[in-house]
Structures are given as structure tokens and as C-alpha cells.
Symmetry: C2
Subunit: 316 residues, 2 copies
């Protein structure tokens, strides 16, 4: 049976648990657990895997470190920070997943991380309206000083202090799609587009990094299109998409059509920056020709991929 | 004509010039200049490129940043730091090289960075004798404190202060060699094994990162063997290997056989940690069946690769 390709988009909890400080040991331990789930998909013999992941806490740590050492080491912009997290998280994942597969007799599957740039549009309205909070919290005075000295956009964040915000533009395409495509065609497992990819624009025919953060599920959707995946599997904290989330009439969905998903989104069922981009990515993928998109939790990943759990988003 | 494969090992000056602070702009500018040289090799139509590079200043910066923020962000061991630099330097190189090739009509060549682990032997004597200095300089008092608190080996460095030293074990093999091999076979340009690779040992059948730094030229040699390259090109500050370096009778070599190279090495012509590992890598590569190894400077890279400059190391 010809294997199908699935792009698995992992949430932050796949790498670091809430409340952890973020030692390498802690992160390796979470990643190991995540990779045990991923290994089952590989071992089923039914799937080729392409893996993508978030990088919020890891970029946050780098921004803190950059700031603490800024007198001796020049801080770097967001594109460079993102590239560092792709190296770090990719390393942890490729080591853990290989170790698990090797112990199960599948150590011969080529497996590694590809540093990935994602093209965004210079004229994306997101650049006029930076909205994604990154890094530390500041006082109002510090915020004003950072705005003046660094040109940062800084906003008040839900009463918790002031934070830098950066644009979150829509991903247009995966710059390294042919490179990744070669690997997928040759039965390799690829980790790519980590943290939503390194955001670049095209200017005078040249790619150039920009200070932005791309939503990792929307970037994962582009990746899935660009490698011709049949399924996009988005893993998060909750086992299923819910209507009336947190209210008495809350209702979990085991299936929704693209049309239903659009209606629910318009009705405001899905939280911005949380479930909303996941549903948006799922809709896009199916509309672009994907067989189905699945939203579920890490612990039910395998069953969800088999259609037995999670929320299946289908054409009709 | 069938293309030959060359592994190009870039020195530190390919990424950052001496005296620079290390802003992203400075590094991108150096990398762009380096990639202009590399692009010529690609455009000649004669070579498939696999690129590897050092990461000394970049790891140094990360170690400084980690230390400055250690109260809020747990510092990470050397393997994790190395993985971050692979992401960062790989990103700069793949963006610059693609931009240059694209402007010359070759933007369709798939090109990216593969996060790379390099296996070392747990029983390598280097682990008993840490010798590679990394990171900041300390006072004698700080050095003692770091030794006690962190278990670091700290030594006095040529009158300039105290520094941490880590083991520099010999590379045994490239963990991701099949993954990289698929790409090379399919006409992709690959950046791999940056900073000598992420050092890992094998323990109970599992890979595990270790606190060490692998010499990037020796790792580049392993990479060249593992991808079946015909040529290993090591680029450094000087245009040719020299005997009696810095003395009146100094003599530059345009060719040396493996046998001559071994004799010169025994006679102590090549500085440890500098020219010595380059000559050692060249000898190994040719003895393992490589057509030739070349040691030259970045500015003469193309001619050296064509056999018209640099020092050619050949079987006989």
C-alpha cells in the first residue's frame, strides 16, 4: 500500500510543559514523550511524516538572554532568533525520534531537520498592525524607552505589563519546498518550518529576513500543500474542537465540513491566536485539495490520524 | 560531464571578520562575500557542493548570553549551543547563496541546511584531557568557583586569563549521512555538520549529546567520506600550507603527497589546533580514497578547487 504523507503540527506542550524552567533535560524529556506518539504513526506503516512545531518559549528565552548580555553581544532580530530555535528544537526531535525508532528496529529511516524560511508578503496588512506579543514584560516607562531606542511596538498585555508586539503575516510559501520535497519522496522523515518558519520577504529579487512571527499552524498548512500531503494533523491541548467553549452548552465536534467550519468561525466560536488559526489552517488545507485536516490532542494523535478521535475537517 | 562532489570546509573568517562585534548585518555581509566565492564553483557546472563551517564566535556569544541571563533562563550544554549555531549560520548561508544563485539564473537549485549530529567515541582519550577553550575569560577566583559549582575544567590561557576547556574528540561518523546523501544525489546543495557537528555518543543503543567540540575540518572530512565526495576543500586564512612558518626559510607548498604531509607533521611544521588538524583531515581523506584534498584561502577558493592555487594533497 502506498504510504500517505501527513504534516504534523505540534503545539508548545509537545516541547515544554507549563511551569517548567526550560532546562535541556526537561525539554528533551517532553520531546521524547512526543516522539513516542510520532513513532507509532511511523511504525503503523501507513504514513510518511513531516513534522513542524512551535517555538514560543524558546524564542522567549533567547530574547531574555540577548537582552541580559546586550552590552557585550549585539542582540539579533527575530528572524535570526527563529533560526536558532529551529536548530535547537530540531536537534532534540531528531535525536529522540531516531532513538525511539532505532529501539523498534526502524533506525534506518533517514531523519533530520531542515532550516526553513517562509515567504511572507511585504504588503501584508499585518505589517501595519503588529499584534503578536514576544519576549519579556516591561513597565510603562521601560516600554516607552524601548519604543524610542529600538523602534519596537510595545503594548499593554491584559494587565500583566507591557510587551513588544511584532507582525504576524500570512505565510505565502515555503522557500525550501523543493529541498524538503526530495526528502519526502525518498522516504525520509523531515522536521521543517519550526516556529512557523524564518519569516522572509522578497525585495528586488532577493530574500531578506523580517521582524515577524508566522503562525506555526498556518505555516504548517503551507508546508502540507507544498509537499503534497494528504493530511494535516494539528495537535494542541484539547482533544477536539468545541462550540460554545467553556459554556454550559459546550459541544465537542468529531467532524465538521469546511462550510460548517467557516460558519462557526464567523459566529466567533474560536479564540483568536488560539483555536481560530488552527481552524483557519484546516479550512485552507481542505480547500486547497487536501483529503482532510485533523485537530486533536497529542495524547490522542494516533487515533485522530486514523479518523477515530479528534475533529476531522472534511470537504463535505 | 558527470559532476564531482566537493565538501567545502569554511573557516571562521568566512562568517565574521576579526574585530567585528557580530551584529547580524556584519555576519550576513561576510557570509554574502563567502557565498559569492561558493556560487562561482556552482556556476562552473563542474561541482556539487556540500558546505560545512566553524562556529567559534557564535558559540562564544551564546555562552556569554546564557551566563548573563542565568538567573532567569537555565543555561544549556555545548551540544544544545551548537545546534543553535547550526540554525543561525545555516540560515545566513542558505539565504545568501540562494540570492546570489538566483540573480545568476540558478535559483532553482534546492539548497538548505541540515541539522547534523556527529558521533564520537565515549572512550576517546580526549574526554580525559579537555583541551579546547570555549567562551569567556575569567579571573583565577572565578575559575575556581566555576570548577566547583559547574564542574567545568578551567585552565589558564596564554596569560590572557582563565577559560573553560572542553574535550575535542575525534569524529567517528555523521549521524545524518543517509539524509544528506539523498540530497546530494538529487542535485541539492547542502549545508551540514556546522561547527564540527553536534557531538553525540552512543550509549545503550541511544544517541546522547555530550559537552564537547569537534574540530570542524576533521568533521568535514568524515562528511566528505560519508557522502562519497571526490574532493575536500579546506579554506582558511592563508593561501597555502607552509613549512618553517614565520621563519626566514618559510616555504609555501603547492603540492604534497600524503607521505610528505605525514613527515612534515611529525617534524612539527604545523600548529596544533590550527594548521595541524587541517593537514590531518587532508591526509585522512586521501587515505580513505578521496581523489585529493586542498588547503587554501577563501579568496583563492575557485582556483584552488581547479588545482591552480592552494596546497593540493594527493596520494602520490
Amino acid at each position: 500500500m502506498e504510504k500517505k504523507t501527513v504534516v504534523v503540527a505540534l503545539g508548545g506542550n509537545a516541547i515544554l510543559q507549563r511551569g517548567q524552567k526550560g532546562t535541556l533535560e526537561e525539554q528533551m524529556s517532553s520531546v521524547y514523550g512526543t516522539c513516542e506518539q510520532l513513532a507509532e504513526m511511523v511504525l503503523s506503516g501507513k504514513w510518511r511524516l513531516v513534522i513542524t512545531h512551535g517555538n514560543g518559549p524558546q524564542v522567549g528565552s533567547i530574547l531574555l538572554q540577548q537582552e541580559a548580555a546586550k552590552e557585550s553581544v549585539p542582540p539579533m532580530p527575530m528572524d535570526a532568533c527563529g533560526s536558532q530555535t529551529q536548530g535547537l528544537i530540531g536537534y532534540m526531535m531528531q535525536q529522540c525520534l531516531h532513538n525511539i525508532l532505532d529501539a523498534r528496529g526502524k533506525g534506518d529511516i533517514p531523519l533530520a531537520t531542515v532550516v526553513t524560511q517562509v515567504l511572507v508578503d511585504k504588503s501584508d496588512p499585518a505589517f501595519q498592525n503588529p499584534s503578536k506579543p514576544v519576549g519579556s514584560f516591561y513597565t510603562a516607562v521601560e516600554a516607552e524607552e524601548l519604543n524610542e531606542r529600538m523602534g519596537w511596538d510595545v503594548v499593554e498585555d491584559a494587565g500583566r505589563g507591557w510587551r513588544r508586539v511584532v507582525p504576524s503575516p500570512d505565510p505565502v510559501s515555503i522557500v525550501e519546498k523543493e529541498f524538503i520535497g526530495i526528502l519526502v519522496k525518498n522516504r525520509a522523515i523531515v522536521i521543517a518550518s519550526g516556529g512557523g518558519g524564518i519569516p522572509v520577504v522578497r525585495e528586488n529579487g532577493q530574500y531578506r529576513g523580517v521582524e515577524a512571527v508566522i503562525d506555526k499552524d498556518l505555516a504548517g498548512e503551507r508546508l502540507a500543500e507544498d509537499v503534497g500531503a494528504q493530511v494535516l494533523l494539528i495537535l494542541t491541548d484539547v482533544p477536539q474542537v468545541k462550540l460554545h467553549y467553556g459554556k454550559p452548552e459546550e459541544k465537542a465536534l468529531s467532524t465538521m465540513t469546511v462550510e460548517e467550519a467557516k460558519r462557526y468561525m464567523e459566529e466567533g466560536h474560536f479564540a483568536k491566536g488560539s483555536m481560530e488559526p488552527k481552524v483557519r489552517a484546516a479550512i485552507r488545507f481542505v480547500e486547497a485539495g487536501g483529503e482532510r485536516a485533523v485537530i486533536s490532542s497529542l495524547s490522542q494523535a494516533g487515533e485522530a490520524l486514523d479518523g477515530q478521535a479528534g475533529t476531522q475537517v472534511v470537504r463535505s
